[in-house]
């Protein structure tokens, strides 16, 4: 089996089989990651460029390490957000990188659809590492990997996602991915942070965190960007925590063996209480490890498409 597209732009475009294939591959990669000698030749002779138009520490490092563990040449380009509008166009930048022999370009951009534009204009495979409020597919894949690793499957699970749904690309990717694998996704957050007509995309939308949490198998908190409060989308972090914060008491509404996830970085005492973050339900640290495994899997699958083409 191969991935149909040369790029990974979002989970909206992947089939259930493709997602499962990526997760299976990531399982193998995790074994490599946990071995003593974290080096494989899978990507020898390949180059991976991270092109980041937004600040990022963990996602970028995760991709870079994934590439290096598999022996790829890796390089980073950071473009200041301020130069997006007036500087070189994305297409021109992409073509330049392409002509230097990039096999994979990992892009993060503040504008939805930027990876799609890049992908149409380069020969290299493009991986979306987050585009505006649209998608963050590798984050969702690592979330799903983490759940499947613990629960065996996503089928029939109730996943409660709490927080700033409106601005979250993590939510969108998780909605597409998790519902494709048979989970029931419920969301809750301040009503000013719920996008319009979200109920029509196959998720349940609740106004209280309690309703969303009842009998949940997986609970995911989302990062609250402090500047959203300044824009008047909710009155204060204090009030947010009071109505939507996840603490031990609220978590009791979820199933006994519920898992707690968060894409990080966490604002302690805003989205989650410190006790929950550091508690035994929390998989926040494991998510980070799994992120590298999932990204190794993707780099591997996308760079071997050429050599296996025609076999299937």
């Amino acid at each position: 089996m191969t991935l149909k597209s040369k790029d990974l732009l979002g989970l909206k475009d992947l089939t259930e089989e493709e997602i499962e294939y990526i997760l299976r591959t990531a399982k193998t990669m995790k074994l490599i990651l946990e071995s003593k000698n974290k080096k494989t030749p899978h990507l020898q002779g390949k180059s991976v460029i991270t092109l980041f138009y937004e600040n990022s520490t963990r996602t970028r490092l995760s991709f870079e390490l994934a590439a290096k563990y598999m022996s790829a040449s890796a390089a980073n380009i950071s473009v200041a957000a301020s130069s997006v509008a007036k500087g070189e166009t994305l297409i021109d930048t992409g073509k330049t990188i392409d002509m230097m022999g990039a096999d994979v370009i990992v892009i993060r951009h503040s504008m939805a659809g930027a990876p799609h534009l890049l992908a149409r204009n380069v020969k290299a495979s493009v991986i979306n590492a987050g585009d505006g409020m649209n998608e963050h597919p590798t984050q969702a894949l690592l979330d799903m990997f983490t759940v499947v690793e613990k629960k065996g499957t996503l089928k029939g699970l109730k996943v409660a996602i709490i927080g700033d749904i409106y601005h979250s690309r993590v939510v969108r990717s998780n909605i597409w991915g998790m519902t494709k694998l048979g989970a029931e996704v419920c969301v809750a957050g301040p009503s000013t942070l719920i996008p319009r007509e979200l109920d029509k995309v196959g998720v349940k939308v609740f106004n209280t965190v309690q309703e969303a949490l009842i009998d949940a198998d997986v609970v995911m908190g989302l990062r609250i960007q402090k500047e959203r409060q300044k824009k008047g989308l909710f009155p204060s972090l204090r009030e947010y925590y009071r109505f939507f914060g996840l603490d031990d008491k609220r978590l009791k509404l979820a199933k006994e063996d519920a898992l707690v996830l968060h894409p990080g970085p966490v604002n302690r005492g805003v989205e989650l209480s410190s006790a929950v973050i550091d508690g035994d339900k929390s998989l926040i640290n494991e998510q980070v490890t799994n992120g590298v495994a999932v990204r190794m899997a993707l780099l591997y699958l996308l760079t071997r498409r050429d050599s296996v083409e025609g076999i299937n």
């Binding site: 997006v84 939805a112 659809g113 930027a114 534009l117 996008p195 995309v201």
Partner: protein, 431 residues
């Protein structure tokens, strides 16, 4: 020099003409309509066989952008008027968001003079309501009028201040010049890039609520009622806007309004896949809005179909969706879209379409155009509404290619465009 149009089906509700007739044009003026004898045919007479075709008053566009002066890389008066002629338009009114802004006499005169020199259709400039379209001080509206502006509008940069709009209405009433409002409450539209709804949610793009348009439509209707000065609402795109205008008309408010083909043909789904050609302002809306626009056209709430021809350079569309320019190059698809989506499904008769694309825009802008009366300048469009063609943006006469309709199969081809008696399009070929 004479032109004789033979045997076409002539429609002009203003003169109650609805049947097969011949039209004689002498020295650019319509001199006879009826059954005209072939005796007139001689070497000095250009005979056009219009059998099986509709002969209409030349189309009048109440809203377009010619980008001249200042943005000639997108379009200029020559290419823009040629595009208009190819689409069957004989008179067009262009918006003032040029560089410099058409907020003073000299820019208005420049446009009029350049149109006389390079243009192939009649061009009527629209002046800015406020200096520099900044929404702070009124432009010299009287001077704009005397220089030849047919209306005033801050299209694209709506007046934030309700009091300035009130004053614009009051002041302009002295000069009998139409005030056109682009309704968009920027505070609520914020940084949105497409309609807020299902598709913006799916694509993770910031939405523009329909309320952004409706709030300002309501404001303008209230101000028009209060000042008793007529107002024309540009490019209506939502269900509630139509309803508010319908209600205001019932109350006797002197309001007229227009919509554009994309608002009765496309929904916001057209933006899927980050299709920047479907990025336009106001944004493409939901299905219920499209249905309401059609209803508004049928019951007469919407008076005019305008193009909002908004040409852009390819580089301004082939970029990130959020950065891409708003607008659709609409001259060359407007008439066929109206035929295909309004006349063919039975929403409008050809006669009603002539009202919305000829008579009403002409009346609202105070032009002596849009009908086939004897003694008028001969602005005539001859069309075949059954002939099908596939839209190919590469064949546009406009400099621009930005259209979401590329590849659409449409009915309604322009065979002849005659401007002041001069044949500009002959047998589908722009001369």
């Amino acid at each position: 020099m004479r032109v004789l149009i033979k045997g076409g089906y002539v429609i002009d509700p203003k003169t109650n003409t609805d049947g097969v007739n011949d039209i004689l044009i002498e020295d650019g003026i319509i001199t006879e309509i009826g059954n005209i004898s072939d005796e007139l045919v001689d070497l000095n007479c250009d005979v056009i066989d219009a059998k099986g075709k509709y002969v209409l008053p030349g189309l009048v566009d109440a809203h377009c952008h010619l980008r001249d002066p200042g943005f000639e890389y997108k379009e200029d008066i020559e290419s823009g008027t040629r595009s208009a002629a190819a689409g069957g338009f004989t008179s067009i009114a262009c918006m003032p968001n040029t560089n410099p802004v058409a907020d003073n006499e000299s820019v208005i005169r420049y446009i009029i003079n350049k149109a006389k020199q390079d243009g192939v259709v009649n061009v009527y400039p629209i002046g800015a309501i406020s200096k520099g379209q900044k929404g702070e001080e009124l432009s010299e509206i009287g001077e704009l009028k005397f220089a030849g502006a047919v209306a005033i509008s801050d299209d694209g940069k709506p007046l934030k201040s309700a009091s300035l709009m009130k004053r614009a209405l009051e002041y302009s009433s002295m000069f009998d010049i139409t005030v056109i409002s682009h309704c968009e409450e920027m505070d609520i539209a914020d940084e949105g890039v497409m309609n807020e709804g299902y598709w913006s949610t799916i694509m993770g793009l910031k939405g523009i609520p329909s309320a952004a348009e409706e709030i300002m439509v309501a404001r303008e209707l209230i101000l028009a009622e209060y000042t008793k000065v007529p107002i024309h609402i540009a490019h209506v795109s939502t269900e509630l806007s139509v309803d508010l205008i319908r209600h205001a008309k019932k109350r006797g408010v002197k309001v007229t309004c227009e919509t554009c083909p994309h608002y009765f043909v496309l929904t916001d789904e057209a933006c899927a896949g980050f299709n920047t050609y479907a990025k336009v302002n106001p944004p493409l809306r939901a299905k219920k809005d499209v249905e309401a626009i059609i209803e508004g056209l049928k019951d007469g709430t919407i008076d005019v179909i305008a193009t909002d021809h908004a040409p852009h350079h390819e580089d301004e569309k082939n970029i990130e969706f959020s950065l891409a320019a708003n607008g659709i190059a609409g001259f060359e698809t407007a008439f066929p879209l109206a035929v295909t989506y309004l006349v063919k499904p039975g929403h409008l008769t050809m006669s009603q379409l002539v009202e919305k694309m000829c008579i009403n825009p002409s009346k609202i802008l105070g032009l002596n155009k849009g009908s086939l009366e004897i003694g008028r300048n001969a602005d005539i469009t001859i069309v075949d509404i059954d002939e099908e063609f596939v839209v190919d943006v590469k064949k546009f006469k406009s400099k621009a290619r930005n259209s979401p309709f590329n590849g659409f199969k449409l009915k309604g081809t322009v065979y002849y465009t005659i401007v002041n008696g001069k044949v500009v399009v002959r047998e589908k070929v722009l001369l």
